[in-house]
């Protein structure tokens, strides 16, 4: 391998021959792999922030009538915990993997719009920092992650808290939409020869469907955020009951975005598991087509179930019945996926690496979350469950059991590709088991805490409720989870330094990304491969590997780096920040900045 690598020019555009500092390189890079890594590191950082917030929440709740946190601080903590975990961890960490893996899996050299990709990242980073800066102004958002109007109206929450939330999310949403446009175009248009849609790896398929959901759901949310912002700053009446505005409209718009958002978070997890399980069972994915169709169906029906978040709001029996039925229906394609994963393992020769442990763990933990989801869909009894810790337990089983288990699995699985080094399996397995214990210890008792009458979002609870013991159990679980996450970070650092060399395909996996060097050269594939099957590295390895790592094309054009994405992203966040000054012309400064950035961008030579 090394000899072949030596023949490959490290890069082929003239600009890169000059030695650049690492920081400048990262600030101006348009390489999907570097951007992917930056996305991932940023998301992991925010995972620590959100995790710290969760830990503080759990310390406060460890015993009844605790005075560790004030009500105001607690309300900000749970709001920012939810907002951080959904918008700054869940979505970006999936986007990180889309960035790194999707072009490799479809045999492309970059994404369709490399500079737009950098712009997405920079808006995400600066926007997330902007929203978190609210802590330092004592104005951290405090209206809950779904920011129900009319509590978020200026009348009831006069501070800048909600403005940081709404304007920060506006920026993050714009970044997500740009990313989605980019991935959809990449997947439609940059597949290598022979990579038909139905030959794409499942992970790429999930990236494709997720991107469609992002591109369609986020603009809906953008409108809701504009409405609440205008209500607060310009006195519009969208959710002002005195003027006839109806807070229910916020809930409907929010969940019309919010439910597809749930699938935005979970479909990438399905994709990851659908890569890991076949690899370590050494069998192709069972029922590939069914997996694709069921995910598409989930994405589609996902648009028709939003009001199951609103059974308690009094929509009337007809709406309740409709959304009960649609929600029940969506359980079917989800169940089909679980059976297909099991069938993939059946008859295989399963290697229990850490990645595989997390994938199998995900199948089980996610099923628990799915089961409590069906209990929610039993809408009359949902009136006993909703807004209690039962719901909290449910969605943490879905989002941690589903998404975070998969994300941890994906780190162990693709780390060798990112770095060329193997992750330590001993630490990895310890991390897995500690996480399983901690996770279940934290969230399993919350099912009972909820059904025994504790509502969510309460900074304190009466000792009379007799729920101190279960809450303490839940808090202890968090400590296990914290240890596990610290072990993961230790493992990453250790493996970066001491990890065994990985080679291109350490797991004997079937998909195209494993044909490239580890880590891949800047242009990924020396020649674009030509695939004929769904498992190219199992069925046509010689030609594919030769294309990927053999004699390179004489001329490979890679887009040059650019600082305009970073500058334009700064303008975007500047605009929303200046809006908060309340001076009507101030945001125009930011908009002018964006315009200058966009024009320079458009005329920047890319050849």
């Amino acid at each position: 391998m090394a000899t072949i690598a030596a023949h490959v020019p490290s890069t082929s555009h003239p600009g890169a021959k000059k030695k650049k500092s690492l920081v400048w390189d990262l600030m101006t890079t348009v390489d999907h792999k570097k951007i992917g890594i930056m996305y991932g590191v940023t998301a992991l950082f925010f995972m620590l922030v959100g995790g710290l917030e969760a830990t503080l929440i759990r310390i406060q709740l460890s015993k009844p009538e605790n005075t560790f946190l004030s009500a105001e601080t607690y309300n900000s903590l749970f709001t920012m915990h939810g907002t951080t975990m959904v918008f700054m961890v869940g979505m970006p960490i999936a986007v990180a993997l889309f960035n790194y893996i999707v072009p490799l899996q479809i045999g492309a050299r970059d994404v369709a719009f490399p500079r737009l990709n950098a712009l997405s990242y920079w808006i995400f980073l600066i926007g997330a920092l902007f929203m978190n800066s609210s802590w330092f102004f004592g104005a951290a958002p405090n209206g809950g992650w779904f920011g129900y109007a009319n509590l978020t109206e200026k009348l009831y929450t006069p501070g800048l808290n909600t403005d940081f939330w709404a304007l920060g999310l506006q920026a993050l949403g714009a970044a997500s939409i740009m990313g989605a446009v980019n991935f959809i175009t990449t997947i439609i248009n940059m597949r290598c020869p022979g990579m038909k849609l139905m030959r794409m790896p499942l992970f790429t398929w999930m990236a494709f469907i997720t991107s469609f959901l992002i591109a369609t759901a986020l603009p809906v949310f953008a409108v809701a955020l504009f409405m609440i912002t205008f209500d607060r700053w310009w006195g519009t009446n969208f959710f002002q009951t005195m003027a006839g505005g109806d807070p229910m409209v916020w809930q409907h718009i929010f969940w019309m975005f919010g439910h597809p958002e749930v699938y935005i978070l979970i479909l990438p997890a399905f994709g990851i598991v659908s890569e890991i399980i076949p690899t370590f069972s050494r069998k192709p994915l069972f029922g590939y087509a069914v997996m694709v169709y069921s995910a598409s169906l989930i994405g589609l029906i996902g648009w028709g179930v939003w009001a199951h978040h609103m059974f308690a709001t009094g929509m009337g029996p007809i709406a309740d019945a409709f959304f009960t039925i649609s929600t029940m229906i969506i359980a079917i394609p989800t169940g089909v996926k679980i059976f297909n994963w099991m069938a993939t393992m059946f008859g295989g020769s399963i290697r229990f690496t850490t990645a595989m442990l997390f994938a199998v763990g995900m199948v089980i933990e996610f099923t628990i979350g799915g089961v409590s989801g069906v209990m929610h869909a039993t809408s009359p009894h949902d009136l006993q469950q909703t807004d209690t810790y039962f719901v909290v337990a449910h969605f943490h089983y879905v989002l941690i059991g589903g998404l975070i288990f998969s994300i941890f699995g994906s780190l162990y699985y693709w780390f060798p590709k990112f770095t060329g080094k193997m992750m330590n399996e001993t630490i990895g397995k310890a991390q897995f088991w500690i996480f399983v214990i901690g996770f279940n210890l934290t969230f399993m008792p919350q099912h009972w805490i909820g059904l025994l009458g504790m509502p969510r979002r309460t900074f304190t609870y009466s000792a009379e409720l007799n729920l101190g013991g279960l809450n303490m159990m839940s808090t202890v679980g968090v400590l296990f989870q914290a240890v596990s996450v610290l072990l993961l970070i230790a493992n990453i650092i250790y493996s970066l330094k001491r990890g065994a060399a990985a080679g291109p395909n350490p797991w004997g996996a079937a998909t195209l990304e494993w044909a490239t060097e580890s880590p891949p050269v800047e242009h990924n594939f020396n020649r674009l491969p030509h695939v004929h099957t769904r498992e190219p590295l199992w069925l046509e390895a010689a030609e594919i590997e030769d294309a990927a790592r053999g004699t390179p094309d004489p001329y490979i054009h890679m887009p040059p780096s650019s600082y305009w994405p970073l500058l334009t992203a700064f303008g975007v966040v500047l605009t929303v920040a200046l809006f908060m000054t309340g001076i009507w012309w101030a945001p125009l400064v930011g908009m002018t900045w964006i315009t200058i950035g966009a024009i320079n961008w458009a005329y920047e030579p890319t050849h």
Binding site: I184, G245, A547
Partner: protein, 210 residues
Amino acid sequence: MAQAAAVTTTHDHGHDGGHDHAVPYTSTGISMWKVGFWVFLGSETLFFGTLISAYMVYKHESVVGPYSSELLDIPITSISTFVLLMSSLAMVLALDALQHQTRKKAVIYTLLTAGLGCVFLGFQAFEFTHFFHEGLTLQKNLFGSTFFVLTGFHGAHVSIGVMWLLILAVDIMRGRTGPKESLRLEIAGLYWHFVDIVWIAIFTLIYLIK
């Protein structure tokens, strides 16, 4: 096997041959920009769809006047709608001129498109001031809030389109955008037609339906 490799090689050479103006390889044969822009417009559709839905939901819920039925002026808006439709025609002619005819014609039609866009914006400014004098503001009632926010966002889209077209017109004049780069004008055109179609929806749903 060897055949496959050979195919791959020629394939690559055919599409990534190192000529500056070669169309880069795409799986569908459609340009990257066009695919990406269509997806973006899909996203925009949902954006305007939500704004229009909000207007429809609150249509009869204003507590105080002036109400929509008292203010919306169909004849005048029909004229501005017609102007915007004509600008789409000019847009088509501009692209055709750039691709198949003279640069001068292309510039004229591009400027005409932008000019008609400006006329439309003028109508909108007139309408906004008129409503304002009748007592309708953003804060007055739900009709004011939903109407100004919806048409305001649309107006902002038209303004961006006008600026975009003006920049392209200068570009075409200077010869920086010629028939080979006509994709730039085509993308701007896609955007322009989209904004036009959104207006047709607004005109139908907000003005025509009582």
